[in-house]
Protein backbone atom coordinates (compact mmCIF):
# COMPACT_ATOMS: atom_id res chain seq x y z
CA UNK A 1 0.00 0.00 0.00
CA UNK A 2 1.33 3.39 -0.86
CA UNK A 3 -0.25 6.60 0.30
CA UNK A 4 0.44 9.50 -1.97
CA UNK A 5 -0.32 12.90 -0.70
CA UNK A 6 -0.46 15.46 -3.47
CA UNK A 7 1.17 18.78 -3.47
CA UNK A 8 -0.41 22.02 -2.47
CA UNK A 9 1.47 25.16 -3.15
CA UNK A 10 -0.77 28.12 -3.70
CA UNK A 11 -2.22 29.52 -0.53
CA UNK A 12 -5.58 29.81 -2.21
CA UNK A 13 -5.78 26.03 -2.53
CA UNK A 14 -4.96 25.23 1.06
CA UNK A 15 -7.19 22.64 2.60
CA UNK A 16 -8.42 22.81 6.20
CA UNK A 17 -5.47 20.70 7.32
CA UNK A 18 -3.00 23.16 6.02
CA UNK A 19 -4.95 26.09 7.35
CA UNK A 20 -4.34 24.85 10.87
CA UNK A 21 -0.61 24.59 10.27
CA UNK A 22 1.72 26.05 12.83
CA UNK A 23 4.56 28.19 11.69
CA UNK A 24 7.83 29.01 13.32
CA UNK A 25 10.01 31.27 11.23
CA UNK A 26 12.94 33.44 12.17
CA UNK A 27 12.13 37.00 11.12
CA UNK A 28 15.70 37.82 10.09
CA UNK A 29 15.65 35.25 7.27
CA UNK A 30 13.42 35.66 4.23
CA UNK A 31 13.02 31.90 3.60
CA UNK A 32 9.82 30.14 4.49
CA UNK A 33 8.65 26.55 4.16
CA UNK A 34 5.36 25.44 2.70
CA UNK A 35 4.15 21.87 2.93
CA UNK A 36 0.85 20.25 2.17
CA UNK A 37 -1.01 17.03 2.60
CA UNK A 38 -4.28 16.20 0.89
CA UNK A 39 -5.86 14.74 3.98
CA UNK A 40 -5.67 15.23 7.68
CA UNK A 41 -6.72 11.68 8.37
CA UNK A 42 -5.41 8.27 7.33
CA UNK A 43 -7.45 5.14 7.89
CA UNK A 44 -5.39 2.01 8.40
CA UNK A 45 -6.80 -1.50 8.15
CA UNK A 46 -5.77 -4.44 10.31
CA UNK A 47 -3.62 -6.02 7.57
CA UNK A 48 -1.46 -2.88 7.40
CA UNK A 49 2.22 -3.80 7.04
CA UNK A 50 3.69 -0.31 6.87
CA UNK A 51 3.62 2.28 4.11
CA UNK A 52 5.32 5.36 2.78
CA UNK A 53 3.76 8.76 3.20
CA UNK A 54 4.82 11.33 0.64
CA UNK A 55 4.69 14.99 1.46
CA UNK A 56 5.35 17.77 -1.02
CA UNK A 57 6.60 21.20 -0.18
CA UNK A 58 8.51 24.21 -1.34
CA UNK A 59 10.96 26.79 -0.05
CA UNK A 60 9.65 30.29 -0.49
CA UNK A 61 11.84 33.36 -0.69
CA UNK A 62 14.97 31.32 -1.28
CA UNK A 63 18.30 32.62 -2.45
CA UNK A 64 18.95 31.00 -5.88
CA UNK A 65 22.71 31.20 -5.44
CA UNK A 66 22.60 29.31 -2.12
CA UNK A 67 20.11 26.81 -3.54
CA UNK A 68 22.44 26.11 -6.46
CA UNK A 69 25.26 25.40 -4.01
CA UNK A 70 23.04 22.97 -2.11
CA UNK A 71 23.14 25.05 1.05
CA UNK A 72 19.50 24.37 1.90
CA UNK A 73 18.65 21.25 3.84
CA UNK A 74 15.21 19.98 4.73
CA UNK A 75 14.32 17.56 7.49
CA UNK A 76 10.79 16.19 7.67
CA UNK A 77 9.66 14.28 10.75
CA UNK A 78 6.44 12.40 11.36
CA UNK A 79 5.99 12.48 15.10
CA UNK A 80 3.55 10.05 16.70
CA UNK A 81 1.21 10.81 19.60
CA UNK A 82 3.10 11.82 22.72
CA UNK A 83 3.06 9.98 26.01
CA UNK A 84 5.27 9.49 29.03
CA UNK A 85 7.68 6.58 28.57
CA UNK A 86 9.54 4.67 31.25
CA UNK A 87 12.90 3.00 30.62
CA UNK A 88 13.84 0.26 33.06
CA UNK A 89 17.19 -1.36 33.64
CA UNK A 90 17.64 -4.88 34.96
CA UNK A 91 20.34 -5.85 37.41
CA UNK A 92 21.27 -9.18 38.89
CA UNK A 93 19.96 -9.73 42.43
CA UNK A 94 20.75 -13.12 44.01
CA UNK A 95 21.19 -14.56 40.54
CA UNK A 96 17.85 -13.26 39.24
CA UNK A 97 17.48 -10.41 36.78
CA UNK A 98 15.35 -7.69 38.38
CA UNK A 99 14.29 -4.25 37.18
CA UNK A 100 16.26 -2.06 39.56
CA UNK A 101 16.49 1.41 38.05
CA UNK A 102 14.07 3.34 35.92
CA UNK A 103 13.59 6.75 34.39
CA UNK A 104 10.43 8.28 32.98
CA UNK A 105 10.65 10.72 30.10
CA UNK A 106 7.95 13.30 29.67
CA UNK A 107 5.80 13.44 26.55
CA UNK A 108 7.96 11.67 24.00
CA UNK A 109 6.52 10.64 20.63
CA UNK A 110 5.56 6.97 20.49
CA UNK A 111 6.80 6.82 16.92
CA UNK A 112 9.16 9.03 14.98
CA UNK A 113 9.95 8.78 11.32
CA UNK A 114 12.58 11.03 9.89
CA UNK A 115 13.39 11.92 6.32
CA UNK A 116 16.08 14.38 5.28
CA UNK A 117 18.12 15.66 2.36
CA UNK A 118 21.21 14.04 3.90
CA UNK A 119 22.28 12.52 7.20
CA UNK A 120 20.88 14.82 9.87
CA UNK A 121 24.16 14.77 11.81
CA UNK A 122 25.94 16.45 8.90
CA UNK A 123 23.27 19.10 8.31
CA UNK A 124 23.91 21.24 11.38
CA UNK A 125 26.08 21.26 14.51
CA UNK A 126 24.88 19.07 17.38
CA UNK A 127 23.99 22.06 19.55
CA UNK A 128 21.75 23.47 16.81
CA UNK A 129 19.99 20.11 16.32
CA UNK A 130 19.52 19.69 20.07
CA UNK A 131 18.02 23.19 20.21
CA UNK A 132 15.49 22.37 17.51
CA UNK A 133 14.97 18.85 18.85
CA UNK A 134 15.13 17.24 15.42
CA UNK A 135 16.75 13.89 14.70
CA UNK A 136 16.55 10.66 16.69
CA UNK A 137 19.74 11.60 18.55
CA UNK A 138 18.39 15.03 19.39
CA UNK A 139 14.81 14.37 20.43
CA UNK A 140 13.93 16.11 23.70
CA UNK A 141 14.00 13.56 26.51
CA UNK A 142 13.10 15.34 29.73
CA UNK A 143 13.10 13.12 32.79
CA UNK A 144 10.19 13.50 35.16
CA UNK A 145 9.74 12.50 38.77
CA UNK A 146 12.70 11.50 40.92
CA UNK A 147 15.78 10.62 38.92
CA UNK A 148 18.63 11.04 41.39
CA UNK A 149 21.62 13.22 40.56
CA UNK A 150 21.13 12.74 36.83
CA UNK A 151 24.45 10.91 36.44
CA UNK A 152 22.74 8.08 34.57
CA UNK A 153 20.64 10.37 32.39
CA UNK A 154 22.76 9.78 29.27
CA UNK A 155 22.66 6.02 29.79
CA UNK A 156 18.86 5.94 29.94
CA UNK A 157 18.46 8.37 27.03
CA UNK A 158 20.73 6.24 24.86
CA UNK A 159 18.87 3.07 25.86
CA UNK A 160 15.52 4.70 25.01
CA UNK A 161 16.64 5.78 21.53
CA UNK A 162 18.28 2.42 20.83
CA UNK A 163 15.19 0.44 21.91
CA UNK A 164 12.84 2.66 19.92
CA UNK A 165 15.03 2.38 16.84
CA UNK A 166 15.56 -1.38 17.08
CA UNK A 167 11.83 -1.86 17.66
CA UNK A 168 11.08 -0.01 14.42
CA UNK A 169 9.19 2.80 16.14
CA UNK A 170 11.88 5.35 15.35
CA UNK A 171 13.16 5.35 11.79
CA UNK A 172 15.34 7.57 9.67
CA UNK A 173 15.87 7.89 5.97
CA UNK A 174 18.78 10.15 5.04
CA UNK A 175 18.05 10.99 1.43
CA UNK A 176 14.30 10.67 1.82
CA UNK A 177 13.87 14.33 0.92
CA UNK A 178 14.57 15.10 -2.72
CA UNK A 179 14.35 18.32 -4.68
CA UNK A 180 12.20 17.77 -7.75
CA UNK A 181 12.66 21.25 -9.16
CA UNK A 182 14.53 24.30 -8.01
CA UNK A 183 12.78 24.82 -4.69
CA UNK A 184 10.17 22.12 -4.83
CA UNK A 185 10.78 19.04 -2.72
CA UNK A 186 9.28 15.67 -2.02
CA UNK A 187 9.68 13.97 1.34
CA UNK A 188 9.00 10.30 1.95
CA UNK A 189 8.42 9.28 5.54
CA UNK A 190 7.77 5.73 6.62
CA UNK A 191 4.66 4.74 8.54
CA UNK A 192 5.76 1.68 10.54
CA UNK A 193 3.49 -1.38 10.69
CA UNK A 194 3.03 -0.67 14.39
CA UNK A 195 2.03 2.96 13.76
CA UNK A 196 0.14 4.16 16.84
CA UNK A 197 -3.43 5.35 16.69
CA UNK A 198 -3.90 9.04 17.31
CA UNK A 199 -2.82 12.48 16.19
CA UNK A 200 0.57 12.60 14.53
CA UNK A 201 2.38 15.75 13.47
CA UNK A 202 4.23 16.20 10.20
CA UNK A 203 6.99 18.67 11.02
CA UNK A 204 9.27 20.08 8.33
CA UNK A 205 12.45 22.00 9.19
CA UNK A 206 14.52 24.17 6.89
CA UNK A 207 18.24 24.64 7.49
CA UNK A 208 20.41 27.11 5.62
CA UNK A 209 24.08 26.33 5.74
CA UNK A 210 23.78 24.58 9.09
CA UNK A 211 21.46 27.15 10.65
CA UNK A 212 17.83 26.38 11.44
CA UNK A 213 15.59 29.03 9.94
CA UNK A 214 12.06 27.79 9.50
CA UNK A 215 9.62 25.12 10.59
CA UNK A 216 6.17 24.15 9.48
CA UNK A 217 3.88 21.58 11.08
CA UNK A 218 0.66 19.88 10.02
CA UNK A 219 -1.49 17.52 12.07
CA UNK A 220 -2.27 14.06 10.70
CA UNK A 221 -4.78 11.77 12.35
CA UNK A 222 -4.08 8.07 12.05
CA UNK A 223 -7.13 5.99 12.81
CA UNK A 224 -7.05 2.25 12.67
CA UNK A 225 -10.11 0.49 11.36
CA UNK A 226 -11.35 -3.08 11.34
CA UNK A 227 -12.55 -5.58 13.89
CA UNK A 228 -9.28 -5.75 15.87
CA UNK A 229 -9.30 -2.02 16.46
CA UNK A 230 -13.00 -2.10 17.35
CA UNK A 231 -12.26 -4.70 20.03
CA UNK A 232 -9.27 -2.73 21.25
CA UNK A 233 -11.34 0.47 21.43
CA UNK A 234 -14.04 -1.35 23.39
CA UNK A 235 -11.42 -2.73 25.81
CA UNK A 236 -10.20 0.80 26.53
CA UNK A 237 -13.27 2.99 26.17
CA UNK A 238 -16.00 0.64 27.43
CA UNK A 239 -13.86 -1.41 29.77
CA UNK A 240 -16.58 -2.49 32.19
CA UNK A 241 -19.12 -3.72 29.59
CA UNK A 242 -16.20 -5.36 27.78
CA UNK A 243 -15.29 -7.26 30.95
CA UNK A 244 -18.91 -8.31 31.52
CA UNK A 245 -19.15 -9.47 27.92
CA UNK A 246 -15.92 -11.50 28.25
CA UNK A 247 -17.43 -13.29 31.26
CA UNK A 248 -20.77 -13.91 29.51
CA UNK A 249 -18.94 -15.36 26.52
CA UNK A 250 -17.02 -17.70 28.82
CA UNK A 251 -20.17 -18.76 30.70
CA UNK A 252 -21.95 -19.41 27.42
CA UNK A 253 -19.01 -21.42 26.02
CA UNK A 254 -18.82 -23.55 29.15
CA UNK A 255 -22.57 -24.09 29.26
CA UNK A 256 -22.79 -25.00 25.54
CA UNK A 257 -19.91 -27.43 25.95
CA UNK A 258 -21.69 -29.18 28.81
CA UNK A 259 -24.83 -29.44 26.64
CA UNK A 260 -23.02 -30.72 23.55
CA UNK A 261 -20.85 -33.23 25.39
CA UNK A 262 -23.44 -34.33 27.90
CA UNK A 263 -23.10 -38.03 28.62
CA UNK A 264 -25.78 -39.94 26.76
Amino acid sequence: MRILVPLLLAASLLLPAAARAQEDTRPDYPEKLEIGISTDEIAISSDFRGADLTIFGAIEGYDPALLAQGKYDIVVALEGPKDDATVRKKERVFGIWVNRRSMTFELVPESYSLSSTRDVETIAPTAELNGVGVGIQHIRLTPTGYFGDGSNLTEFREAFKRLKESGGYYQRDPGGVQFISASLFKATVKLPASVPNGTHVVRAHLFRDGVFISEKALPLRVSKTGIEQMISNAAYNNAFPYGVFSVLLAVLTGWLASLVFRKE
Binding site: D84, K164, A235, Y236, S246, A250, A257
Partner: protein, 297 residues
Protein backbone atom coordinates in the same frame (compact mmCIF):
# COMPACT_ATOMS: atom_id res chain seq x y z
CA UNK B 1 0.11 -14.42 16.95
CA UNK B 2 -0.71 -17.66 15.18
CA UNK B 3 -4.28 -18.86 15.79
CA UNK B 4 -3.33 -22.52 15.29
CA UNK B 5 -0.66 -22.39 17.98
CA UNK B 6 -3.17 -20.86 20.40
CA UNK B 7 -5.75 -23.49 19.43
CA UNK B 8 -3.18 -26.22 19.96
CA UNK B 9 -2.19 -24.81 23.33
CA UNK B 10 -5.81 -24.61 24.47
CA UNK B 11 -6.59 -28.11 23.24
CA UNK B 12 -3.48 -29.63 24.85
CA UNK B 13 -4.13 -28.00 28.21
CA UNK B 14 -7.83 -28.87 27.94
CA UNK B 15 -6.90 -32.49 27.22
CA UNK B 16 -4.66 -32.62 30.30
CA UNK B 17 -7.25 -30.94 32.48
CA UNK B 18 -9.91 -33.41 31.36
CA UNK B 19 -7.57 -36.33 31.92
CA UNK B 20 -6.51 -35.28 35.43
CA UNK B 21 -9.55 -33.30 36.51
CA UNK B 22 -7.58 -30.10 37.02
CA UNK B 23 -8.56 -26.63 35.78
CA UNK B 24 -5.48 -26.04 33.68
CA UNK B 25 -5.13 -22.33 34.40
CA UNK B 26 -1.72 -22.95 35.96
CA UNK B 27 -0.48 -24.30 32.62
CA UNK B 28 -2.24 -21.86 30.25
CA UNK B 29 -0.71 -18.70 31.72
CA UNK B 30 2.95 -19.87 31.62
CA UNK B 31 2.46 -21.24 28.08
CA UNK B 32 1.10 -17.86 26.96
CA UNK B 33 4.11 -16.17 28.57
CA UNK B 34 6.46 -18.55 26.69
CA UNK B 35 4.62 -17.52 23.53
CA UNK B 36 5.61 -13.89 24.24
CA UNK B 37 2.15 -12.75 25.29
CA UNK B 38 2.76 -9.98 27.86
CA UNK B 39 2.34 -11.49 31.36
CA UNK B 40 -0.28 -8.83 32.19
CA UNK B 41 -2.47 -10.09 29.36
CA UNK B 42 -1.63 -13.77 29.97
CA UNK B 43 -2.81 -13.58 33.58
CA UNK B 44 -6.03 -11.64 32.95
CA UNK B 45 -6.91 -13.74 29.90
CA UNK B 46 -6.11 -16.93 31.82
CA UNK B 47 -8.66 -15.97 34.48
CA UNK B 48 -11.27 -15.43 31.76
CA UNK B 49 -10.52 -18.85 30.24
CA UNK B 50 -10.93 -20.55 33.63
CA UNK B 51 -14.53 -19.25 33.83
CA UNK B 52 -15.41 -21.36 30.79
CA UNK B 53 -13.43 -24.45 31.77
CA UNK B 54 -14.97 -24.54 35.29
CA UNK B 55 -18.48 -23.90 34.05
CA UNK B 56 -19.38 -27.36 32.74
CA UNK B 57 -17.92 -29.07 35.80
CA UNK B 58 -19.82 -26.83 38.20
CA UNK B 59 -23.07 -27.39 36.27
CA UNK B 60 -22.81 -31.17 36.56
CA UNK B 61 -22.08 -30.94 40.31
CA UNK B 62 -25.03 -28.60 40.68
CA UNK B 63 -27.30 -31.08 38.91
CA UNK B 64 -26.07 -33.93 41.09
CA UNK B 65 -26.39 -31.79 44.19
CA UNK B 66 -22.77 -32.32 45.23
CA UNK B 67 -22.30 -28.64 46.00
CA UNK B 68 -22.61 -26.85 49.36
CA UNK B 69 -23.92 -23.41 48.38
CA UNK B 70 -23.64 -22.03 51.92
CA UNK B 71 -20.03 -23.13 52.32
CA UNK B 72 -19.31 -21.97 48.77
CA UNK B 73 -20.74 -18.53 49.55
CA UNK B 74 -18.51 -18.11 52.63
CA UNK B 75 -15.49 -19.20 50.55
CA UNK B 76 -16.59 -16.82 47.83
CA UNK B 77 -16.75 -13.91 50.28
CA UNK B 78 -13.09 -14.49 51.11
CA UNK B 79 -12.33 -15.05 47.42
CA UNK B 80 -13.80 -11.71 46.35
CA UNK B 81 -11.87 -9.88 49.09
CA UNK B 82 -8.70 -11.71 48.05
CA UNK B 83 -9.21 -10.97 44.36
CA UNK B 84 -9.74 -7.28 45.16
CA UNK B 85 -6.53 -7.17 47.19
CA UNK B 86 -4.77 -9.16 44.47
CA UNK B 87 -5.75 -6.78 41.69
CA UNK B 88 -4.63 -3.84 43.79
CA UNK B 89 -1.29 -5.60 44.25
CA UNK B 90 -1.20 -6.46 40.53
CA UNK B 91 -1.69 -2.81 39.52
CA UNK B 92 0.90 -1.64 42.05
CA UNK B 93 3.49 -4.16 40.83
CA UNK B 94 2.77 -3.19 37.25
CA UNK B 95 3.30 0.49 38.06
CA UNK B 96 6.68 -0.11 39.67
CA UNK B 97 7.77 -2.49 36.90
CA UNK B 98 8.01 -5.65 39.01
CA UNK B 99 4.88 -7.47 37.80
CA UNK B 100 6.53 -9.79 35.26
CA UNK B 101 9.15 -10.81 37.81
CA UNK B 102 6.62 -11.52 40.59
CA UNK B 103 4.38 -13.55 38.25
CA UNK B 104 7.34 -15.67 37.15
CA UNK B 105 8.61 -16.12 40.71
CA UNK B 106 5.17 -17.16 41.98
CA UNK B 107 4.83 -19.65 39.14
CA UNK B 108 8.27 -21.12 39.79
CA UNK B 109 7.40 -21.62 43.48
CA UNK B 110 3.89 -22.92 42.76
CA UNK B 111 4.76 -25.26 39.88
CA UNK B 112 7.90 -26.44 41.66
CA UNK B 113 5.96 -27.31 44.82
CA UNK B 114 2.92 -28.85 43.15
CA UNK B 115 5.08 -30.77 40.66
CA UNK B 116 7.37 -32.17 43.35
CA UNK B 117 4.50 -33.20 45.64
CA UNK B 118 2.67 -34.87 42.76
CA UNK B 119 5.79 -36.67 41.62
CA UNK B 120 6.54 -38.00 45.13
CA UNK B 121 2.94 -39.07 45.59
CA UNK B 122 2.81 -40.94 42.29
CA UNK B 123 6.17 -42.61 42.94
CA UNK B 124 4.82 -43.84 46.30
CA UNK B 125 1.68 -45.08 44.59
CA UNK B 126 3.72 -46.87 41.91
CA UNK B 127 5.85 -48.57 44.58
CA UNK B 128 2.73 -49.67 46.43
CA UNK B 129 1.29 -51.09 43.25
CA UNK B 130 4.56 -52.92 42.56
CA UNK B 131 4.56 -54.45 46.07
CA UNK B 132 0.90 -55.38 45.69
CA UNK B 133 0.00 -53.43 48.81
CA UNK B 134 -3.61 -52.30 49.06
CA UNK B 135 -4.04 -48.55 48.79
CA UNK B 136 -4.84 -47.42 52.31
CA UNK B 137 -7.37 -44.64 52.40
CA UNK B 138 -6.02 -42.65 55.30
CA UNK B 139 -8.96 -41.62 57.41
CA UNK B 140 -8.38 -37.98 58.26
CA UNK B 141 -8.35 -37.33 62.01
CA UNK B 142 -11.51 -35.88 63.43
CA UNK B 143 -10.19 -32.57 64.74
CA UNK B 144 -7.20 -30.28 64.44
CA UNK B 145 -6.38 -26.67 65.43
CA UNK B 146 -8.71 -25.37 62.73
CA UNK B 147 -11.68 -26.75 64.62
CA UNK B 148 -10.89 -24.85 67.80
CA UNK B 149 -11.32 -21.43 66.12
CA UNK B 150 -14.31 -19.25 67.11
CA UNK B 151 -17.18 -17.92 64.89
CA UNK B 152 -18.52 -21.36 64.14
CA UNK B 153 -21.24 -21.96 61.60
CA UNK B 154 -23.24 -25.02 60.69
CA UNK B 155 -22.96 -26.21 57.05
CA UNK B 156 -25.82 -28.68 56.69
CA UNK B 157 -24.96 -29.99 53.25
CA UNK B 158 -21.39 -30.81 54.27
CA UNK B 159 -22.61 -32.08 57.67
CA UNK B 160 -19.94 -30.01 59.36
CA UNK B 161 -19.80 -27.40 62.14
CA UNK B 162 -16.86 -25.14 61.33
CA UNK B 163 -15.40 -21.72 62.09
CA UNK B 164 -15.79 -19.26 59.18
CA UNK B 165 -12.27 -17.85 59.78
CA UNK B 166 -10.30 -20.61 57.98
CA UNK B 167 -12.93 -20.78 55.22
CA UNK B 168 -12.79 -17.04 54.49
CA UNK B 169 -9.00 -17.16 54.88
CA UNK B 170 -8.67 -19.99 52.36
CA UNK B 171 -11.00 -18.19 49.95
CA UNK B 172 -8.94 -15.02 50.36
CA UNK B 173 -5.63 -16.75 49.51
CA UNK B 174 -7.16 -18.41 46.45
CA UNK B 175 -8.64 -15.04 45.37
CA UNK B 176 -5.19 -13.42 45.50
CA UNK B 177 -3.75 -16.29 43.41
CA UNK B 178 -6.57 -15.95 40.87
CA UNK B 179 -5.99 -12.26 40.29
CA UNK B 180 -2.18 -12.29 40.38
CA UNK B 181 -1.57 -15.58 38.55
CA UNK B 182 -4.70 -16.15 36.47
CA UNK B 183 -5.43 -19.57 37.96
CA UNK B 184 -8.63 -20.99 39.42
CA UNK B 185 -6.69 -22.41 42.34
CA UNK B 186 -8.62 -25.69 42.63
CA UNK B 187 -5.40 -27.70 42.89
CA UNK B 188 -4.66 -25.89 46.18
CA UNK B 189 -8.22 -25.41 47.39
CA UNK B 190 -9.31 -29.05 47.06
CA UNK B 191 -6.48 -30.57 49.18
CA UNK B 192 -6.82 -27.71 51.71
CA UNK B 193 -10.55 -28.34 52.07
CA UNK B 194 -10.07 -32.08 52.51
CA UNK B 195 -7.05 -32.19 54.80
CA UNK B 196 -7.25 -28.85 56.62
CA UNK B 197 -10.97 -28.17 56.93
CA UNK B 198 -12.00 -31.86 56.93
CA UNK B 199 -14.85 -31.21 54.54
CA UNK B 200 -16.40 -34.41 53.13
CA UNK B 201 -14.83 -35.21 49.76
CA UNK B 202 -18.14 -35.60 47.91
CA UNK B 203 -18.93 -31.84 48.12
CA UNK B 204 -15.35 -30.52 47.89
CA UNK B 205 -14.92 -30.40 44.10
CA UNK B 206 -18.36 -28.96 43.36
CA UNK B 207 -18.05 -26.33 46.09
CA UNK B 208 -14.57 -25.26 44.99
CA UNK B 209 -15.77 -24.97 41.37
CA UNK B 210 -18.67 -22.80 42.59
CA UNK B 211 -16.18 -20.45 44.25
CA UNK B 212 -13.78 -20.53 41.26
CA UNK B 213 -16.42 -19.49 38.72
CA UNK B 214 -17.47 -16.40 40.63
CA UNK B 215 -13.96 -15.35 41.63
CA UNK B 216 -12.54 -15.76 38.11
CA UNK B 217 -15.57 -13.94 36.65
CA UNK B 218 -15.10 -11.09 39.12
CA UNK B 219 -11.34 -11.00 38.40
CA UNK B 220 -11.96 -10.89 34.65
CA UNK B 221 -14.30 -7.91 34.97
CA UNK B 222 -12.02 -5.97 37.33
CA UNK B 223 -8.90 -6.77 35.25
CA UNK B 224 -10.70 -5.59 32.11
CA UNK B 225 -11.83 -2.38 33.85
CA UNK B 226 -8.66 -1.52 35.76
CA UNK B 227 -5.87 -2.83 33.54
CA UNK B 228 -7.50 -3.32 30.10
CA UNK B 229 -5.64 -6.60 30.11
CA UNK B 230 -8.28 -9.13 28.97
CA UNK B 231 -7.85 -10.26 25.35
CA UNK B 232 -11.30 -11.55 24.49
CA UNK B 233 -10.25 -13.11 21.16
CA UNK B 234 -7.33 -14.97 22.73
CA UNK B 235 -9.53 -16.08 25.63
CA UNK B 236 -12.28 -17.30 23.30
CA UNK B 237 -9.91 -19.39 21.17
CA UNK B 238 -8.43 -20.94 24.32
CA UNK B 239 -11.89 -21.66 25.76
CA UNK B 240 -13.25 -23.37 22.68
CA UNK B 241 -10.12 -25.47 22.16
CA UNK B 242 -9.98 -26.16 25.90
CA UNK B 243 -13.52 -27.45 26.38
CA UNK B 244 -13.20 -29.72 23.34
CA UNK B 245 -9.77 -31.00 24.41
CA UNK B 246 -11.12 -31.69 27.89
CA UNK B 247 -13.78 -34.08 26.56
CA UNK B 248 -11.16 -36.26 24.89
CA UNK B 249 -8.93 -35.97 27.95
CA UNK B 250 -11.70 -37.39 30.14
CA UNK B 251 -12.17 -40.38 27.80
CA UNK B 252 -8.45 -41.18 27.61
CA UNK B 253 -8.05 -40.66 31.36
CA UNK B 254 -10.69 -43.29 32.09
CA UNK B 255 -8.81 -45.92 30.08
CA UNK B 256 -5.29 -45.37 31.37
CA UNK B 257 -3.61 -46.16 34.67
CA UNK B 258 -3.68 -43.26 37.12
CA UNK B 259 -0.24 -43.44 38.77
CA UNK B 260 1.83 -43.27 35.59
CA UNK B 261 -0.32 -40.44 34.25
CA UNK B 262 0.10 -38.50 37.47
CA UNK B 263 3.86 -38.94 37.30
CA UNK B 264 3.81 -37.65 33.73
CA UNK B 265 1.74 -34.60 34.64
CA UNK B 266 4.09 -33.95 37.56
CA UNK B 267 7.08 -34.02 35.21
CA UNK B 268 5.31 -31.65 32.81
CA UNK B 269 4.47 -29.22 35.63
CA UNK B 270 8.09 -29.35 36.83
CA UNK B 271 9.38 -28.76 33.29
CA UNK B 272 7.25 -25.63 32.90
CA UNK B 273 8.48 -24.39 36.30
CA UNK B 274 12.13 -25.05 35.38
CA UNK B 275 11.75 -23.24 32.08
CA UNK B 276 10.38 -20.16 33.90
CA UNK B 277 13.21 -20.36 36.44
CA UNK B 278 15.80 -20.52 33.65
CA UNK B 279 14.29 -17.40 32.06
CA UNK B 280 14.66 -15.58 35.39
CA UNK B 281 18.32 -16.49 35.79
CA UNK B 282 19.53 -16.33 32.18
CA UNK B 283 21.11 -13.08 31.06
CA UNK B 284 18.43 -11.17 29.13
CA UNK B 285 19.15 -10.15 25.54
CA UNK B 286 18.68 -6.55 26.61
CA UNK B 287 18.83 -5.34 30.18
CA UNK B 288 16.85 -2.24 29.27
CA UNK B 289 13.16 -2.12 28.42
CA UNK B 290 10.80 0.70 27.57
CA UNK B 291 7.06 1.03 28.23
CA UNK B 292 4.58 3.69 27.32
CA UNK B 293 2.80 4.88 30.45
CA UNK B 294 -0.54 5.33 28.67
CA UNK B 295 -1.42 8.39 30.77
CA UNK B 296 -2.40 10.44 27.75
CA UNK B 297 -4.06 7.65 25.89
Amino acid sequence: MNIFIILGMGAAVGFLSGMFGVGGGFLITPLLIFYNIPPVVAVATGANQVVASSMSGALSHFRRGTLDVKLGTVLLLGGLLGATAGIWLFSLLRRIGQLDLVISLLYVVLLGTVGTLMLLESIRALRRAANNQPVSLRRPGQHNWVHRLPLKMRFKKSKIYLSVIPVVGLGFCIGVLTSVMGVGGGFIMVPAMIYLLRIPTNVVVGTSLFQIIFVTAYTTIVQATANHAVDIVLAFILMVAGVIGAQYGVRVGQKLRGEQLRALLALLVLAVGVRLAVDLVATPSDIYSVVSEGVYR
